[in-house]
Symmetry: C2
Subunit: 320 residues, 2 copies
């Protein structure tokens, strides 16, 4: 058992939150993580109301939360009410200004988790009243920015200690096993947010070809890029890129973004078809540098329990 | 006391190596770190034979090692003999293929430390016979690459365990206090390499204006770029960039490298004059994301002792 302020405040057995990965994190995954003693979050992503509703149904009676891509939520703010009506375990916001949404979340008595990629945004998250700040490093899979987990976490820990010591802190980015969990606690986190490692679970909604690609990959095989967002016609703010497995598509376009935009119609159709078909040479596999530690696809509960047991063992062994 | 395979093998009191930072890490700093129980390394940098000789003299009777920028050493390999003749505590190679230099180092009975930025290069370092592999993440100050410390260290630890368990592993990049040291040990390292935090010491050879800029900076204020190398006319391989504090010079040129090359003569003169004068708006301050943890300039021994004491305290507190 690893007891932290996060396990106490949220009534968890393990200080581990599962990242609300767009498309991949449905109700089944979120429920599995909650059932196993962590906190599961449905990936509200770009905001498909019916899909989100169905995922809450799929989670059944397990208490799960929901995450949003903040700039996307701002375009259809009604989605937040829909989710709050389900009394979620938490609302998680990342990639945009959480200010407009903080009040309704807190008025509903729901914990507000704000993921940030810079110290500056951590200060803003404190200002808007975040209950938990997730400091996400660039090694993370999917969207993110440039700072590293190794320095962002302790820097935000210092900021919290100075300005709002009651706020909890989780580390995200590059945490795929017990070593990452133990390291995060040393850096000053109360827990961790795990994305890629749960993405590679039996309960996640991921094409088998992409899982296979992740198992085969090392940490050297990923890249942060915007080509997938351009190919999908998504209006991501320029500061955010996404970490994915390198493939023919990134090799072709990563250094030629203007050319890609000029060929957007053709390339967009090609990318989308490949995504559906699981053609990993064109559609990109959204996974972080922890691809190194993905050796197989297991139930989320096994991933979680091994991670915590490993972390405990490691901390004990190193302080004998 | 934190005892690891590194302290045992090298006869150190603390599992901390000071990075051989070009220009900044002279004999005085290296000697101070060795005297305080770590391992100090002179920054052989771009290879000025007279300067390196003078720094070994400045280190006096303290046992210190020497680091080289490998691609630069390849242009004047005679420097290695000069350094080996001084029976250094170690030879440290980074940024290039260590293969041509491994044999003479090992024949001299000197420990070979290879710094790597990818898993692929770690495998090569094992092949050439490295005694210590330093896995350096992108959060590091100065030159480096793209992988993060948080994932590269455990990935290389797994590689070493599988292929050459006698090889030691140090973490580098983003380690500026006891939290970083404790986290690195959890990730599987036998010790750490510390650059930026020792760069901000009384013994380092750094312009006071740059130290002042680092004290004022947060981790958000750095960038990885090539503009400084273009401005200095240095032939760095394209894969390596350097992390520095953002300033007017990076704001102007970072996204216009071809324009910078076209104006190289003028901008090079301007950058070099600013470097000498300590004009931090033009010349760049070489420091990593740990700038966040640089609150003042202290003797290297104090930095080292606090780091180790903090790490010990942290590991104990979290395993109570």
């Amino acid at each position: 058992m690893i007891e932290t302020r996060l396990t106490e405040r949220f009534g968890l057995r393990h200080p581990v939150i599962q990242a609300p990965m767009a498309f991949a994190a449905g109700g089944e995954l979120a429920a599995a993580v909650t059932r196993a003693g962590g906190l599961g979050l449905i990936g509200g992503g770009y905001g498909d109301a019916d899909w989100i509703g169905a995922q809450f149904e799929a989670a059944g009676n397990q208490k799960v939360g929901c995450g949003f891509i903040t700039w996307s939520l701002a375009r259809q703010p009604g989605l937040l009410d829909q989710v709050l009506a389900r009394a979620p375990a938490a609302v998680f916001l990342s990639f945009g200004d959480p200010a407009p949404f903080a009040r309704p979340v807190k008025d509903a008595g729901v914990p507000l988790i704000c993921q940030v990629q810079t110290r500056r945004d951590a200060a803003h998250a404190i200002d808007v009243g975040a209950d938990v700040i997730v400091a996400q490093g660039a090694e993370a899979g999917g969207h993110g920015e440039a700072r590293a987990t190794m320095t962002l976490v302790p820097e935000v820990a210092d900021l919290i200690a100075a300005r709002a010591p009651e706020v909890l802190l989780c580390a995200a980015g590059g945490i795929g096993d017990g070593r990452g969990l133990a390291a995060s606690l040393m850096l000053g986190a109360d827990g961790v947010l795990v994305g890629s490692r749960f993405w590679a679970s039996e309960e996640a909604l991921v094409h088998p070809n992409m899982l296979e690609a992740a198992v085969a990959a090392t940490g050297d095989d990923t890249i942060r890029s915007s080509v997938m967002d351009i190919a999908r016609g998504l209006d991501w703010p320029a500061r955010y890129t996404a970490r994915v497995l390198k493939n023919d598509f990134t090799d072709t376009w990563h250094h030629r973004l203007d050319d890609l935009r000029a060929n957007a119609a053709r390339e967009s159709a090609r990318w989308s078809a490949a995504w559906k078909a699981g053609d990993v040479s064109v559609a990109n596999t959204f996974v972080g540098e922890v691809a190194a530690f993905i050796d197989g696809i297991e139930p989320a509960a096994e991933i979680l329990e091994r991670m915590v047991a490993e972390a405990e063992m490691r901390m004990r062994a190193l302080t004998r």
